[in-house]
């Protein structure tokens, strides 16, 4: 069973929010004693997803949670936006697919960097991506 120990919601609507948000995530990783490699992986994944919000939806929010399951602690991040949504999610999850003339590594790369990854998107309604990284995961 997963228990939420702490949560905080951060609004994202401009480039400058990226750094503020990443620093916030970093504080949480330090709070639970996450090692520097996992820290960097989580922050990088978070960075990809928050940039997608800015680039494709314009604005959104991120929920940061410290969670606990048994003796494991971890951090869960929920990125939500009310942007255009993704019409073909499996395609968007492929390496190299981009509608933004970019590397197309954000979503698939983020998935490889975390322990759990979930994406839900409805065209015209928005996108929600949830990632989870265990302290020792």
């Amino acid at each position: 069973m997963i228990v939420v120990l702490n949560k905080e919601s951060i609004p994202i609507d401009k480039e400058q929010d990226v750094v503020l948000f990443r620093n916030r995530v970093k504080e949480y990783t330090i709070k639970i004693g996450m090692g520097v490699v996992n820290q960097t992986k989580l922050i990088t994944a978070a960075s990809e997803l928050v940039r997608n919000i800015l680039k494709y939806a314009g604005k959104g929010t991120v929920l940061i949670e410290i969670i606990s399951s048994g003796r494991q602690n971890g951090i869960r991040l929920v990125f939500s936006d009310k942007g255009p949504g993704i019409s073909d999610v499996p395609l968007a999850m492929k390496d190299g697919f981009s509608t933004g003339k970019s590397l197309g590594l954000g979503l698939p790369g983020a998935r490889r960097l975390v322990n759990e990854f979930d994406i839900k998107s409805t065209v015209g309604k928005g996108t929600t991506v949830t990632i989870l990284k265990w302290k020792n995961g």
């Binding site: 490699v37 960097t40 992986k41 960075s47 940039r51 970019s102 590397l103 790369g109 983020a110 490889r112």
Partner: protein
């Protein structure tokens, strides 16, 4: 009788009292504004206030008649935020107008406490709202200052160092976002032209995370350097960054990368066929 409209007749008394309150406030910043300027500003706001507020609209700050007041108040508040006033000072400025009005009324209605009480309630409510507007715009003004400082910091913190003949080094500290990359790239390319250097070392020890955007910016900088006929080495790749980059799937295999600035410098000497040796005496 309309109590708020009637205040117009007391304009000069009000201004005098308000200025007294402001000048008596020990936190008054004479270093930031001349008394005359303060007076002119106060007169403008007071006139807008006397013109707009009536018994009818006093409870509705959203009424269009309030627009001139709000405009002037926001302007004052934003400019104070930029000049470095504290929220307290800015708040006191607005609230001391209320104190001036109260004093006028107290003298006028000393034998009609019911009227005084009802009017005071309305006045307080109104100034609560004006106070909120003041603070909201004050914070906006502060945020602008912070954003501008962020821009300035990114500009001053991207030096290009000439470490040796033909070798340039750029220590990058902080995030490499789009505007920062633009500055780094411009500085670097210009220095390559000015110094005729053939090798540039981009040190990313101070970059907290390399995501796909940062990686792309690095790749672009390397490509631009090569177009200028110079070679680019990226150094300062920490172990956690290396692992993350691999998992993300970013291909840096076409770039010369080194773990430390020292090994990058060694590589550069190599490429220039230079040798560093201990002198035998």
């Amino acid at each position: 009788m309309d109590l708020f409209k009637a205040l117009s007749k007391k304009r000069s008394r009000l201004l005098e009292l308000w200025m007294q309150y402001q000048l008596a406030d020990i936190s008054l910043r004479e270093d930031l504004m001349e008394n005359e300027e303060l007076r002119a500003q106060s007169e403008e706001l007071l006139d807008a206030f006397l013109k707009a507020v009536t018994d009818k609209n006093v409870e509705n700050v959203d009424d269009p008649t309030y627009e001139p007041i709000i405009e002037i108040l926001s302007g004052i508040s934003i400019s104070r935020a930029r000049q470095g006033y504290s929220p307290k000072e800015t708040g006191n400025y607005v609230f001391s107008l209320r104190d001036a009005i109260l004093q006028v009324w107290q003298a006028e209605f000393s034998n009609d406490l019911a009227v005084l009480f009802a009017a005071t309630l309305k006045l307080n409510k109104l100034f609560d709202n004006l106070g909120i507007i003041t603070f909201e715009t004050f914070i906006k003004g502060r945020e602008e200052v912070i954003l501008r400082q962020t821009d300035e910091i990114s500009e001053i913190s991207t030096p290009v160092i000439r470490v040796w003949d033909n070798i340039l080094a750029l220590p990058i500290i902080g995030t490499l976002d789009s505007s920062r990359t633009q500055i780094v790239m411009e500085n670097l390319l210009q220095q390559i032209v000015d110094t005729g250097s053939s090798i540039a070392i981009l040190d990313i020890s101070g970059v907290p995370a390399v995501d796909s955007l940062v990686a792309q910016h690095l790749l672009k900088t390397v490509a631009a350097t090569r177009l200028m006929g110079a070679e680019c080495i990226i150094s300062g790749i920490r172990p956690e960054i290396a692992q993350t980059v691999v998992h993300l799937g970013i291909d840096l295999s076409n770039i010369i990368t080194k773990a430390t600035l020292a090994s990058a410098l060694k590589q550069a000497y190599n490429m220039l066929q230079l040798e560093v040796r201990k002198v035998q005496k």
